[in-house]
């Protein structure tokens, strides 16, 4: 650990953590805890707002002064297993997930909190990697992690590491992204391939010896949303297609707007590897989780502009229109299959379990 570049500033008050793994003492409120917080987290997150180490972050931003600006606030907990997986780790999804929850509402994400629950015995080096990864994702998204908390629980009371992030952002005056605004004729667009995160996690769990190269799609999408809003100012709404996949996101929108949504199976962007994993395990990629995929609805005359703007960015280079809102079957999502048959895509019931044969 000595050859580790020290990225902290002289403000650090705790000492260097000397142990290999976390013990209950690191949650005890004393020096060991201060060492853990300062050496692992504060030094990685390092930013002007976190430095004062008061019990709260104190925040100022010009965008908040604008008349009509709205504050956006969201929170999410992350419990992924394994903690590190191809394409990311729990820290990266904790930052991206919260940033994306703000961004799909049209908010400019500004500040995040991070609370971690650590199982006794977790390696300090793993925590360092996760903290650095949170910082890297925060830098990519242009946000600061300004406050946080750590708790240590006994072995068996948590699965390694749980992370909760909350986020604050500002919605500039005039932006009204809302699922209820979707109208028949609007075009549904996704920014990239579906199901990569879900498939990467399944493969990384290793209990079925699948050797694949699939990486999680985990990425912040706020720059993409800004590009869309600039190119297609009347974008109706966007949803982050995380748990429950694209199917759940589309159902929520169909229900909120009381429109039908018709998607085309042949238009769905899927990697052959993800299709393969789904074939083998009997899963449906429409229900697999994504961490860097959103679906948005735009008026049809702005669809091309939105697609062009999205494709100019790395996280949007595979952007494609997948269907439309219709006045048929309000509240339902219908997919036109390869053969032209219709299939109703319902919300996921319970958990997706592999089929027996």
């Amino acid at each position: 650990m000595k050859d580790q570049p020290d990225i902290s500033t002289p403000r650090r008050r705790g000492g260097k953590l000397q142990v290999k793994s976390v013990t209950l003492a690191h949650g005890g409120g004393g020096k060991a805890m201060r060492d853990l917080i300062d050496d692992v987290f504060v030094s990685a997150f390092d930013n002007p707002e976190i430095g004062d180490m008061e019990d709260q972050a104190r925040l100022m931003h010009a965008a908040l002064q604008e008349p009509g600006a709205q504050l956006a606030f969201t929170t999410d907990s992350f419990v992924v297993s394994p903690i590190e997986f191809p394409g990311g780790d729990i820290g990266k999804i904790a930052v991206c997930g919260t940033v994306n929850d703000l961004a799909v509402g049209g908010a400019i994400p500004l500040w995040l909190s991070a609370a971690v629950i650590i199982e006794e015995g977790t390696e300090v080096e793993l925590l360092r990697r996760v903290a650095r990864s949170m910082r890297a994702a925060a830098d990519e998204a242009g946000v600061h992690i300004v406050t946080g908390d750590t708790k240590v629980v006994e072995r068996g009371s948590a699965d390694g590491l749980f992370v909760t992030t909350s986020g604050v952002g500002v919605i500039p005056p005039g932006r009204k992204l809302n699922a209820g605004r979707v109208r028949p004729g609007d075009v549904a667009i996704v920014n990239g391939v579906l199901g990569d995160h879900g498939a990467a996690i399944l493969a990384a769990r290793g209990d079925m010896a699948l050797s694949t190269e699939i990486e999680s799609d985990c990425a912040p999408l706020n720059a993409l949303m800004e590009a869309v809003i600039a190119a297609a100012p009347d974008v109706r709404c966007a949803r982050d297609a995380t748990r429950g996949g694209l199917a759940s996101a589309l159902n929520e929108i169909a229900e909120a707007a009381d429109v039908g949504v018709k998607i085309d199976e042949t238009a769905l962007p899927l990697r052959p590897e993800v299709k393969g994993v789904c074939e083998i395990l009997g899963l449906d990629p429409l229900y697999l989780a994504n961490e860097g995929t959103l679906v948005l609805f735009v008026p049809s005359d702005q669809a091309e502009a939105a697609l062009t703007a999205m494709r100019a960015l790395k996280v949007g280079r595979n952007a494609v229109a997948i269907g439309r809102a219709t006045d048929e079957n309000p509240g339902s999502v219908v997919m036109t299959t390869l053969f032209g048959g219709g299939r109703i895509i319902d919300m996921l019931v319970g958990e997706q379990l592999p089929r027996i044969c």
């Binding site: 048959g341 299939r343 027996i356």
Partner: protein, 383 residues
């Protein structure tokens, strides 16, 4: 995707649909008096719904979704036995994913897991055996279920446990066998099946000879079918050709996988380890003679039924549940009084709502647009 997309080609599918249309017209069937084809296997049901095939077929052909979803036909009493084994201290209870959600009278295996039982999902009984090797101090039980498709892997696992003397592994054997089930459907007085889309994976193990009685004694055609949409459409063409030509034969559409005589090694392992039970209780169909297998006494030390006190309780299906009629093609899922109101995938009352391969659940979740319209129509007529 290689080796799959070839069997999903929309252009070829259109040619097959046209051929089906043409042949169906020659049979004289109509919307009022349609031909009923049963797909026995849940894998076929799943493909039919996934690709929306049903609503693209002419009105004169109705597909009846048969009993081939092994999860759906599990009786509550067996799920209760599983839960009771799983709750035994020291036990690691393993099974296939979708068996974990089947409700017993005292909850599912998923519920038992949430209450602290060590229940784990595996993809093969060999994974369960590996768990037994790695946990010599624990008893690892594998809940084996399914037709002849999954039976060989259970049998080979028991033989491997025997060869390696792994004493802490046992099989809770609830495998079922396809032939008596088809026979029960053919013998039922309200039967109205005109032909069978035969199970592909089962046939890969048992071959085609066991089906001959269907053609010879009952004069019904059966075509062993693959699971891709083009396989199923070609099978329907082959069934229609037989009907038009007045034949009733056993044919094989899935010859790229299914050999005439089945798999001799798999059959040998099955008969070495398993023997027929006198009867087996099915959800929805009741008790069927010789429709299940148990472990032979020579393998008693790997038999969870011997190691644990399984009570084999019989819990009757709810009276209002019409799964039996749906299975035999007498009524459509949405014609059942419970469908979609009392009985839903979240809270299944009957067997067929349990797994995504069950026809009621498939209708509820995946139903084609036409099926939803018919369901609405049926509701209006009924009220």
């Amino acid at each position: 995707m290689k080796y799959a997309d070839e069997f999903r080609d929309p252009v070829l599918a259109r040619a097959l649909f046209a051929r089906i249309e043409e042949l169906a017209a020659k049979t004289g069937a109509s919307r009022e008096r349609p031909l009923h084809f049963m797909e026995v296997c849940g894998g076929h049901t799943h493909s039919i719904f996934r690709y929306g095939l049903e609503e693209l077929l002419p009105d004169s052909i109705e597909l009846v979704h048969g009993p081939g979803c092994p999860v759906c036909v599990l009786p509550m009493g067996i799920v209760d036995d599983c839960v009771s084994i799983a709750r035994t201290p020291g036990v690691i209870f393993t099974t296939y994913g979708d068996a974990m959600r089947v409700p017993g009278s005292d909850g599912s295996l998923l519920a038992a897991k949430s209450e602290g039982a060590d229940v784990r999902m595996v993809y093969s009984p060999l994974d369960a055996l590996e768990l037994a090797r790695r946990n010599p101090g624990r008893e690892v039980v594998f809940f084996g279920l399914g037709f002849e498709t999954t039976m060989p892997s259970s049998a080979f696992t028991v033989l491997e446990a025997e060869a390696e003397e792994i004493g802490n592994f046992s099989l809770f054997c609830n495998h079922i066998t396809i032939i008596p089930t088809i026979k029960a459907i053919l013998d039922s007085p309200d039967m109205r099946i005109d032909g069978f889309i035969g199970p592909g994976h089962v046939s890969m193990v048992i071959g085609q000879a066991p089906y001959r009685f269907i053609a010879e004694r009952y004069r019904r055609p059966l075509v062993v079918a693959g699971f891709e949409p083009l396989d199923i459409l070609q099978t329907i063409v082959m069934l229609l050709e037989q009907i038009v030509e007045g034949r009733a034969e056993i044919e094989n559409q899935y010859s790229r996988v299914v050999p005439e005589g089945g798999n001799a090694n798999a059959l040998a392992a099955i008969s070495k380890v398993f023997e027929l039970r006198e009867f087996f209780e099915w959800r929805g169909l009741g008790s069927l003679d010789h429709s299940g297998v148990r472990m032979r006494p020579e393998y008693a030390r790997f038999d969870a039924e011997v190691k644990f006190d399984t009570r084999n309780r019989r819990i009757a299906d709810p009276k209002s549940c019409q799964c039996g009629e749906v299975l035999k093609g007498v009524i459509k899922p949405w014609e059942c009084k419970l469908f979609g109101e009392v009985c839903t995938p979240e809270n299944p009352v009957g067997a067929l709502m349990v797994s995504s391969e069950g026809s009621c659940s498939a209708y509820y979740q995946y139903a084609g647009v036409r099926a939803r319209a018919l369901r609405a129509e049926a509701r209006i007529t009924a009220s």
